[in-house]
């Protein structure tokens, strides 16, 4: 069993696992850190961005590079449509991948890169919410980028990386970066997905069984249990033990695995989501009361649902409930609608609401009462009439490189009464804001990451007791942001062997299959005659016709085949010479001459006949050149002196 690591970002994981001749991709995350090196895309000309000075390395005067790089403050940005870092395609041929398992909608953004134009012929498994919401995220991304076409694509800068300043010079494998896919490949890619339910047992070519188990992280998020009759591998991706809107995490299914692959832990190891939410509410309240606007860059789904619920309540308390909330995304309407029809995937509190019947999320009510207004874009019909300040705006993209958020920063960036609040943990907010600097707007950092933190992860490992634990190498060291906090690691657990891995590595996992399963037909089973060879230990031979279909082994009766019908028995123990000689003489063979050859080897010569019998502790050799009659007689006597099963 081998594990290939294809993604550099443990929070946008992509692995390939090979086991029982099945090649299985675990998640298909797309690392988007590359975005931060690009200039923001604006669908209205931004004079400020346009007027940024070109940047050239000191000693270079390549005309092709001219205009590709722009400078702002101490940062250099690429002026080009953004590029993404897809999963490594050198280690595994994607056309050989049989199955892709998707854990949650945040871990499937690279799917079109893997399934389209690669010869991929396999199947993708994901839950219904993962598919539906993942589709929204993919669509939003494509729309954001396609609505701001750029005249030229920068290519030369990748040849001058070493001459660029930090952080561009440390960009991860920029030569492998790709431009975004289009809607055609998104749709083609999504059509390979087969929807599955929690705890649905999915058969993979008869060789493996995979089961998605609720992971509590977001709508439809799952951990995967991959098993045979004797082996169990658990792939744990985005999981949460906190109580938010999704169905709670199913621990039970993950217990006692031979191998536990653990990834996608929190990106904010130091802060606590609850206190962050508290800070957020305070910041929003203060800003609105001071007449400022709040800008919350976010994904169109996920924690944002909890924010609607929490903030609307808090705004009521603080007496600023007359300030509207705007939710701007090309998929805002779809996201709000879908979240309220996926009751079966929600926490029981939310689920029980549909029995009334009420909408599980309060945002349906907020929309009805005009407290929450949603628009596809800020240029959509009705937005300018409905728009009223001060207000709270939720919009994408959290990288601040495209989407309506770019316009809102232009609009509100120079007013210190306004506030931008970072809630999504995916991007470093200082890097995200860098191309816009200098800004007057207040900045609050309240990243809310509900996935497992290190304490929770270590506790989970203690509970689950995997034999082998496989984690990204970076989880075995304290976070870069807090090198002194040595407790923020996945430590050694006495019951588990820890194997770290990193990008581009192929790990041999210590799972040696020793046993498989066969189904025995009752007719064959009837012939089983257990012989007790020792107290509590019985043996019996089995012979049958083997049929193998879809990797399932069956043993049936060998009817009609004369050669096979006789049950084969085995002799065991040692032969007692005295007893043997006695039996020989009973059968009329009295000329036996016993000769010891040293050790335990004894040869018995039958002088009158052309025969000898060599006896050792664990073997008997009858050499007989005379007629068959004598040999048969001798065989009979030998058999009488030995035990059989």
């Amino acid at each position: 069993m081998k594990l290939y690591c294809l993604s550099n970002d443990p929070n946008k994981p992509c692995h390939v696992l090979t086991f029982r001749e099945i090649t299985m991709m675990l998640d298909c995350g797309l690392s988007m850190q590359s975005l931060l090196n690009f200039l923001p895309l604006s669908f209205v000309q931004s004079n400020r961005l346009l007027s940024l000075p070109n940047w050239m390395p000191n000693d270079t005067s390549d005309p092709d590079l001219e205009g590709e790089l722009k400078e702002n403050g101490d940062r250099v940005f690429v002026d080009s449509p953004p590029e993404f870092c897809p999963p490594l395609d050198k280690l595994v041929d994607f056309s050989q991948v049989d199955v892709i398992l998707i854990s949650n909608y945040l871990c499937m953004m690279a799917l079109p890169f893997v399934t389209e134009g690669t010869g991929f012929k396999g199947r993708v498994y994901a839950t219904e919410p993962t598919l539906q919401i993942g589709k929204l995220l993919l669509e939003e991304l494509v729309i954001y980028i396609e609505q701001c076409p750029k005249a030229s694509f920068a290519t030369q800068w990748k040849n001058f990386l070493r001459k660029c300043p930090y952080p561009l010079n440390e960009a991860f494998t920029p030569k492998s970066w790709k431009h975004i896919y289009n809607m055609t490949s998104v749709n083609a890619s999504l059509s390979t997905i087969q929807m599955v339910g929690y705890n649905e047992k999915i058969d993979v070519f008869g060789a493996l069984q995979v089961i998605p188990a609720s992971s509590g992280f977001c709508l439809g998020s799952a951990n995967w249990v991959i098993s045979t009759e004797h082996e169990k591998i658990v792939y744990l991706s985005g999981s949460s033990t906190l109580t938010t809107h999704p169905r709670p995490m199913d621990h039970h299914a993950l217990k006692n695995a031979d191998v536990l692959i653990m990834t996608d832990l929190t990106q904010t190891p130091i802060s606590n989501p609850d206190s962050m939410l508290g800070v957020l509410c305070v910041v929003v309240g203060l800003t609105l009361r001071g007449g400022g606007n709040v800008l919350i860059p976010c994904y169109p789904t996920g924690v944002v649902y909890d924010l609607f619920e929490c903030l609307s309540g808090k705004m009521q308390e603080l007496g600023v409930s007359n300030c509207p909330m705007f939710f701007v995304s090309p998929v805002a309407d779809m996201s709000l609608a879908y979240s309220n029809i996926l009751a079966e995937w929600l926490s029981s509190v939310k689920q029980n609401k549909v029995y009334v019947p009420d909408e599980p999320f309060p945002h349906a009510m907020l929309v009805k009462s005009n407290k929450l207004k949603h628009f596809k874009h800020i240029y959509s019909e009705g937005f300018s009439t409905d728009f009223q300040e001060p207000c709270v705006v939720f919009c994408g993209h959290p990288s601040l490189r495209f989407g309506d958020v770019v316009q809102f920063i232009e609009l509100w960036g120079n007013n210190p009464r306004n506030c931008i609040v970072f809630t999504e943990p995916d991007y470093d907010y200082i890097e995200a804001l860098a191309p816009y600097q200098p800004l007057q707007i207040k900045v609050a950092h309240c990243a809310i990451d509900t996935s497992l933190n290190f304490t929770q992860a270590n506790k989970l490992i203690r509970d689950l007791k995997p034999k082998t634990l496989v984690v990204p190498e970076c989880y075995t060291q304290p976070p870069v942001s807090a090198p002194n906090l040595t407790e923020l690691v996945i430590g050694n657990h006495p019951d588990s062997t820890l194997i770290p891995y990193k990008w581009g590595e192929v790990i041999n996992l210590p799972l040696k299959r020793k046993q498989a399963q066969v189904f025995v037909d009752p007719n064959v089973a009837q012939n089983i005659i257990p012989i007790e060879v020792k107290p509590g230990i019985s043996l019996s031979t089995i012979t049958g016709t083997l049929s193998v279909k879809d990797n399932v082994h069956n043993i049936q009766n060998t009817s009609g085949d004369a050669n096979m019908n006789k049950p084969v028995k085995y002799e065991w123990g040692s032969l007692n010479i005295t007893e043997f000689l006695q039996k020989l003489s009973q059968e009329g063979i009295t000329d036996a001459k016993v000769e010891s050859l040293g050790g335990n080897v004894v040869v018995i010569h039958l002088q009158d006949e052309d025969a000898l019998i060599q006896l050792e502790e664990n073997s008997t050799h009858v050499v007989c050149n005379a007629d068959e009659q004598l040999r048969t007689k001798l065989r009979h006597i030998v058999m009488q002196c030995l035990k059989k099963f």
Partner: protein, 594 residues
């Protein structure tokens, strides 16, 4: 051989009060717990005294409800709260949401309108629903350590499911009511090739092959339109949820297209609430509705308004949907009594009516209906039957059998004569046994067993290696031979050497050797080659190999020795296990030498 036992307490050669007892692997499972609409006495509910006179809990391991129709869940509160059952009840989320509303509705009609005694109360419905565990499609649910269940989409009504049930090596599929063709708001039933030992299928339309749905819809719309045009009133008795929504969609679009003005009413305040369930469980509807629900919710009706009792006597044309669907009680019956004597009016029965109901009587052409209070109603209005009921027809039932490949089929929820016909057909076409027990009659079905045992991988691999090394021959059988080791409750099949090691004993190998003298000049290697060819010829089913001058078949070794002169010694040696083969080869060579 292990057995499956199935006893219908209801729905055996009958439609109504579906309730089927299933015994498998020592577990007792109740499939549906319905009531019979045609009766007002104790025959209304299944006869639970068949099981026991006291509490059912010790005798029933779980109850599974297929969908929210009362003939499938109507007796549930009676069974759990009045007869006594504390175990788990399984149903899908939409069924869990909608069933209590229909139960309450029915309770009100029975107790408040008909003044029935000894009926379950509202509280009992609530207490009963607390015992319900909701399941999602395809989720594998362990009821206890042995019973595993899984729901499949059945189409019939919102949330309707077929259930696959497995105990040990036995498995059963119970279809509930299902529909194999998608309709205006639901998709078609679907099941995978799960090869159950028994498929228990409904057979409401066992002998019907329905014409195309479009034609029936056109027919329906034409009739309604004609009646409204002549100023008549149209009564459509329906259940609050299910068919009603489909017909509403149909009429709504037609009214819009034809610009009709006659009012359409939907009785009961339930309309909006009912439609809300459809909105919330949109994932259970068909592809088209799911795709468009964000832009336009199919269940927001413009033309259909709420009905008020006072409208009954309003002049002029109107179309009214009223519950219940079989005209056995409630508002639909009240309206019927008023409208029936007028030949301008029309009643359209869009679904099946069980025997004993007014619906059943008028469908059979009754021109006069007499009621319990001696009231007599003349039926002059046009009576139309429109089969919109989403059951599988004969073709659909055959399709389902083909999809899931059961070993046996049992027909329930249908009329005896029609079942007989379909039973014949199933037995002929699929060559499998088909049962249709009457209520209280037990069918016993034996099932084959397959015993799973562990096997050492090296044994399997050795076999596979050996098999693939042989030239391909489609007729050749693969043989697996090994030793079963039974030790501390572990059973594992392995090769003999591993087995001896595992058991801690020493195998004793007995070998026989004999020599044949052969007259053949030339080098001994040439003789060996000759023998190899000869043996291959004689033992076509065996793998005869030749290496380093030695010929081997299984454990039999043949070695040729001697100088280039005429005489060669041919040694033949074999282990006791290959005695038959060894002595056969020895004799073969012996005969050759003579």
């Amino acid at each position: 051989m292990p057995e499956l036992k199935v006893t219908p307490l209801g729905a055996g050669q009958d439609v109504g009060r579906s309730c089927i007892l299933l015994t498998m692997g020592g577990k007792n499972i109740m499939l549906d717990c319905g009531m019979h609409m045609g009766y007002n006495d104790e025959r209304r509910f299944p006869d639970f005294s068949y099981i026991t006179d006291g509490s059912l809990s010790p005798f029933i391991d779980c109850v599974i409800i297929s969908h929210f129709h009362l003939d499938h869940c109507g007796a549930l509160p009676f069974m759990s709260e009045m007869v006594g059952y504390t175990g788990p009840i399984y149903m899908t989320h939409p069924t869990k949401a909608i069933a209590p509303i229909l139960l309450e509705d029915m309770r009100k009609v029975s107790v408040e309108k008909k003044g029935e005694q000894n009926f379950f109360t509202s509280q009992m419905i609530k207490d009963c629903m607390k015992k319900v565990i909701a399941v999602t499609l395809h989720q594998s649910v362990m009821v206890d350590n042995d019973i595993e269940i899984k729901a499949y989409y059945a189409g019939h009504v919102l949330g309707a499911a077929m259930f696959w049930i497995k105990v040990g090596s036995q498995s059963v599929v119970y279809t509930g009511d299902y529909n194999m063709t998608p309709d205006r708001h639901l998709g078609a039933a679907w099941i995978d090739k799960c090869k159950p030992d028994l498929l228990i299928s409904e057979s409401t339309y066992a002998t019907t092959i329905r014409d195309s749905k479009r034609c029936r819809e056109k027919d329906f719309l034409k009739k309604v339109h004609e009646c409204v045009d002549r100023g008549g009133k149209v009564l459509i008795p329906v259940f609050a949820l299910g068919r009603a929504q489909e017909l509403c969609i149909l009429l709504e679009t037609y009214w819009e297209r034809m610009n009709l003005k006659a009012p359409i009413y939907f009785a009961l305040g339930l309309t909006e609430k009912a439609n809300n369930y459809y909105k919330m469980f949109i994932t259970w509807t068909n592809q088209k509705i799911r795709k468009t629900f964000v832009q336009r919710n199919m269940f927001d009706f413009k033309h259909i308004k709420a009905f008020d009792r006072q409208f009954i006597d309003n002049p002029g044309p109107m179309v009214v949907f009223a519950t219940p669907g079989m005209l056995h009680a409630g508002l639909s019956l009240q309206i019927f009594k008023k409208w029936a004597p007028n030949e301008n009016n029309m009643i359209i029965m869009p679904g099946f009516c069980v025997q004993g109901t007014v619906g059943h009587k008028i469908l059979n052409g009754a021109k006069v209906v007499e009621f319990e209070n001696r009231q007599v109603v003349e039926v002059k209005m046009a009576v139309e039957y429109m089969s919109f009921s989403a059951h599988a027809d004969a073709k659909g039932i055959m399709q389902l059998i083909q999809h899931c490949e059961p070993m046996n089929v049992m027909l329930v929820h249908g009329e005896a004569a029609k079942m007989e016909f379909l039973k014949e057909k199933i037995q002929q076409e699929f060559n499998i046994k088909c049962y249709n027990p009457a209520n209280g009659e037990t069918s016993v079905i034996t099932t084959p067993v397959k015993i799973p045992i562990d096997v050492s991988l090296s044994l399997l691999k050795a076999e596979a290696k050996k098999f693939s090394s042989l030239p391909p021959d489609p007729k050749r059988r693969r043989t697996l031979h090994g030793v079963l080791v039974m030790k501390d409750n572990n059973v594992c099949l392995m090769d003999v050497d591993d087995a001896c090691k595992e058991a801690g004993i020493n195998r004793h190998v007995v070998r026989f050797s004999s020599t044949v003298h052969l007259n053949d000049s030339g080098p001994s290697l040439a003789t060996a080659h000759k023998l190899h060819g000869f043996m291959k010829d004689k033992l076509p089913q065996w793998s005869v190999t030749f290496s380093e001058g030695e010929i081997s078949v299984e454990s039999v070794l043949v070695k040729v020795e001697g100088d280039d002169d005429e005489n060669k010694n041919v040694y033949v040696s074999w282990t006791n296990q290959d005695e038959d083969l060894g002595s056969y080869i020895f004799n073969l060579l012996n005969t050759m030498s003579q």
